[in-house]
Symmetry: C2
Subunit: 646 residues, 2 copies
């Protein structure tokens, strides 16, 4: 059954070369007409990477030979790809990414380099030469808070300190929209934010305050200085997480590094490594060292591996060592299923699909077998103390989430949510940054209560949901069934959406599945930002719509979430290059075009400012005939001339 062969019969060098070759190709393939743009903060080493999409000029008159044009400004967009979208970055998969946060961490002088790994498992693993062929060569020495110190962003925020990380995300969240000049692009509907607080401009102080209140987190393990700071919170852009990870059934280290980089290219704000194979530890070394985004894990998966998959054999000692092992590798957030209490387990007995969370069912089995309370709950204080030493954020897992819409919002699910609120209070006492995981499978009309109850029970700690999937009838399309719920709950206030791929419930996602899942979720997150009224969110919609109206086909493709696909679809009907500059589209054809007529309407209205008033009188006197004549002169001919020459 298991095909877990991480070396695929290739030599170490061959595998490294393959991975490097992939990165080189990817770097040579940036998004069309895009440039890497760095916005510098209050100090030169705060350089926030964005992507800027150049546009072609608009033809506003003249003819093909002597067109009168107007320039269009470049549109800056949020970029999760880090150095992978920078042609000037010098990437080496063996060395990993540059540690852009290292100096900030050192300057704080509240952490120290350890002589070696604190985890017994890591020590054994390093001592075992049998894994050398899989290992990341240039492993950094782990850092940890000095005795008695707390190195979390929440700790700094509460102390009134604005860290470089906070300033970085403030600049990043503003999307460079202060650069936009065209007023049409700035048009935006007032949003409906359900109580969210979205200021016109995000300041570093606002970021600090949101973190201090526990309403937002910056996942930033001091052992992952390569990651670009990003923020997760209801009052910021909605974020998307992509899950990768091999399982005992499939895939290898190189594939996971490829999926990581691929995920960042297509918009993953964070990536969770859910590996369950025999080489979780080594796979993670490679992923973290090469990741520009925060990495999350579910430590219980690895702990289970360590006891050979026998849930009842799990112990606090094994789990604790796993937390330290992963914290010192640089994992930025842990999913911990500490809310699965013994007394909640029987509440799932009558469900159609029972407990579907892997972490949840592991703990449920452990609780029943020993008839003891969940040891994660019992040791939660100690878990928090460990997290505070590395600034690992907590993602409180929803082990009782429904696995079918029929099981949604039941007692087991909501009882656990209330316990997660209790645990949030404890985590906050330790200054540990905390987010709350949510469902799952929920029909549309039951989505909102999930958001409302979470905000209340968990005191506005950021919500992080898996979809929710709003119907169960479409396996193979669950990136869509869950994307609908994701868009809605993002609008209601969810801070991060965990993507679902088309393979959900059926198989393991390949690269194309990862891309499809991410695009579905970037659409959901963006639609939520627009509906909430996030300032600047609508600029990209407006720019693309204007390009569409003006038949700037290439701009329309380039401004889209997936330029390659948009262009390919257009080519499928109108492959000729001329069609890319044609003033008509394949839907109506050259003879008739609604956009063309709209231009005539506009010219008419411009030429007749009083038209609206006059027309409203609607009396068909001679003056009207004259007005009609005017129109024949002014409007009716425009474009048709350009047309005939096209």
């Amino acid at each position: 059954m298991s095909t877990d062969t991480p070396n695929n019969g290739l030599s170490r060098r061959q595998r490294r070369d393959a991975a490097q070759h992939y990165l080189d190709n990817l770097q040579g393939n940036p998004f069309p007409n895009s440039r890497k743009l760095y916005l510098t903060g209050s100090r030169p080493d705060i350089r926030v990477g964005m992507r800027e999409i150049d546009q072609s000029p608009s033809v506003i008159g003249g003819d093909q030979h002597n067109p009168i044009t107007r320039d269009n400004e470049a549109i800056p967009v949020y970029d999760t790809a880090g150095p992978y979208s920078d042609p000037n970055a010098n990437l080496d998969v063996r060395a990993g990414l540059k540690p852009l946060r290292r100096d900030w961490i050192l300057e704080r002088e509240d952490s120290e380099t350890l002589s070696g790994a604190s985890s017994h498992f890591t020590q054994q693993r390093l001592a075992d030469g049998g894994f050398d062929h899989l290992r990341f060569e240039q492993l950094p020495k782990p850092r940890r808070a000095k005795p008695g110190r707390n190195v979390t962003q929440l700790h700094y925020a509460r102390a009134g300190i604005v860290t470089p990380e906070m300033e970085y995300v403030a600049i990043r969240e503003n999307l460079g929209r202060e650069r936009i000049r065209n007023e049409i692009l700035k048009r935006t509907h007032p949003g409906q934010s359900f109580g969210a607080n979205l200021p016109e401009a995000i300041t570093p102080e606002f970021v600090r305050d949101e973190i201090a209140r526990g309403r937002a987190i910056i996942p930033a393990n001091i052992n992952h200085p390569e990651a670009e700071p990003m923020i997760i919170g209801r009052n910021f852009l909605v974020k998307v997480n992509a899950n990768i990870g091999n399982s005992s059934v499939s895939s290898s280290i190189e594939e996971e590094v490829e999926k990581l980089v691929w995920s960042c290219r297509w918009g993953a704000d964070t990536v969770m490594d859910l590996s369950t194979g025999r080489h979780i530890h080594e796979t993670r070394e490679w992923i973290i060292r090469n990741s520009p985004v925060p990495i999350g894990t579910v430590p219980i998966y690895q702990a289970l591996e360590k006891v050979n998959g026998v849930a009842e054999d799990l112990t606090w000692a094994v789990f604790r060592d796993t937390l330290i092992e992963q914290a010192e590798q640089g994992v930025d957030y842990f999913t911990i299923h500490a809310g699965v209490l013994l007394r909640y387990v029987p509440m799932t007995a009558e469900r159609v699909t029972g407990i579907v969370s892997r972490g949840g069912s592991i703990m449920a089995k452990w609780c029943l077998y020993h008839h003891k309370e969940n040891f994660l709950y019992e040791h939660f204080d100690e878990i928090c103390r460990i997290c505070a030493q590395y600034d690992v954020s907590l993602s409180l897992g929803d082990g009782m989430r429904p696995g079918a819409i029929v099981d949604a919002n039941d007692r087991a699910q909501f009882a656990e949510l209330e316990t997660l609120g209790e645990l949030t209070r404890i985590a906050w006492q330790h200054d540990v940054q905390t987010i709350i995981e949510g469902p799952g499978h929920v029909p549309m009309h039951l989505v909102k209560i999930n958001m409302e109850k979470q905000l209340q029970d968990c005191m506005e700690a950021p919500f992080y949901t898996l979809g929710p999937q709003i119907t169960d009838v479409a396996p193979g399309y669950d990136h869509f069934t869950s994307g609908i719920g994701a868009a809605m709950i993002g609008w209601y206030g969810c801070a991060m959406l965990c993507y679902v791929t088309p393979k959900e419930h059926l198989g393991l996602p390949g690269k194309e599945d990862v891309k499809q899942g991410l695009i579905a979720y970037k659409i959901a997150a963006h639609a939520a930002d627009v509906a909430k009224g996030h300032p600047g969110a609508q600029i990209r919609d407006n720019a693309l719509s204007l390009a569409r109206f003006e038949f700037r086909w290439e701009d329309q493709f380039n401004l889209s979430l997936d330029p390659e696909t948009a262009k390919a679809y257009h080519d499928a009907t109108l492959p000729q290059e001329s069609a890319k500059v044609a003033h008509f589209c394949s839907m109506c054809g050259p003879k008739f075009c609604s956009m063309k007529i709209t231009q005539e309407v506009r010219d008419y209205a411009a030429a007749n400012p009083e038209a609206l008033i006059e027309i409203e009188q609607l009396d068909a006197d001679a003056g009207m005939a004259a007005k009609a004549e005017e129109f024949r002169q002014s409007g009716a001919q425009l474009y048709s001339k350009v047309q005939s020459e096209a």
Copy 2:
């Protein structure tokens, strides 16, 4: 540019054979494990076709060699494919489908067969031998209401008559759910219907009453007796329309017939033929005679063809003749842009994308050019009189719908909507069935007001929206961006959703695009039915979820909207046949499985009915150790035995 060559260099016989060959293949390829089921009404000729999906038995104990099983009942589902999903139907594309409604129409004795077509254009076209090679051979003679009679379903409903069509849809809307026995499958959440009225069982009298109130329509031209009756209304299942049609840029008659049948296979409740090519008339003959679903058109497109694409040359006479031409061919509903008033046109001048509706911009241009009021508005009474003679339903077009989210809900859009309400009153005075078309491009938070305003302004006449698309940044994925808005507005009360394909804004949809658009919209419509609380809507979700929980992989595939894709995705990870009966999935692998543990929890709870209470006391006395021991005996071993033998 134009590649409109309907004969593709093939002879008439070759083309017919190609189309027939396609139908034969399609019929030989029914959905897996599905049977055609006919539910008979109060008279033997009311036979409502459904599809019933058989399930495999559940393994509830024993081992692989002596499994203890429980049978699972077949799940009936709504079927739009008509005879195309019936292996016993004898299909002949040259003869068209059987006219199942003919006797019902004849019995009413209120219509008569005409000696020939009333439309001058049709007469000329028939007289012109140049089109013989394109013509449908066995054209029926057109029928029309006898002088002074009105043949609409609305007219009968108001007269208190329950027609066979009404009884047919009542049976159809009940989804055969009275056959379901398993109580688990019947579990359902109370819905949130926003004032919709969804009775436990749909009766023919309820259907009549909803039609009489104008809250629902049955598009049923007396010249399209081949169509299976279906109903469009807020208090019934949400429906989906698929647009097909060649344009001057592409495709031929056979392709359109193929797309029609393909659309019905994938769930289109109605199909709109938006052809704009040189052979609209002949293409329509083939589509209508072979369509089991109502066919809609936008007559202004053909009228424009007749005046060589010059909008200002359009006249009422040309348009009127086109209505009669299409009514006598059997078109079931007309999109009429009678709400585009001269005074509304300048309101679009400041929009980013102006007027994007083709019909809307044609009328806008006409109004401006002549500086006269829209002739469709001026002649609306006469349009209604024509519709009443054939029972052509009116779909009042939204010529002012926004083409970008920035233009959503503006004065032009809502002013037109108010006029559509005024026109609805007029149509109802003529007993003409009427629905209202809606946007378009609308951000999530502005969707609901569209539904509320339509219900109010148009007195609950059914709403029929194009999406709405909730962001503009994802061309290539607009089946999804609009599917989100469609699911939401369907939930809020929209009666029919006009699908959008991935090629929207970019090119003309091919067969795969049509399928992708339909599946996205079937998901949206179904999710809306579940959220509204339509009785029985959740049965399919529950059946699929139960199959998933019990690892009945084939049942999970077969119950899905797209069995082929679900199975193909599973095969991609676990191709072995054994995996289809394996009690684990590719996500967790064989060693650990959350579903497995849930079964253990359930067995434990079943074996210990007092568990819940006891556990809540949570004192770790000796009795607990004993209870834990029990669990080791009872639960812990189950499945692992089956497993080891797998």
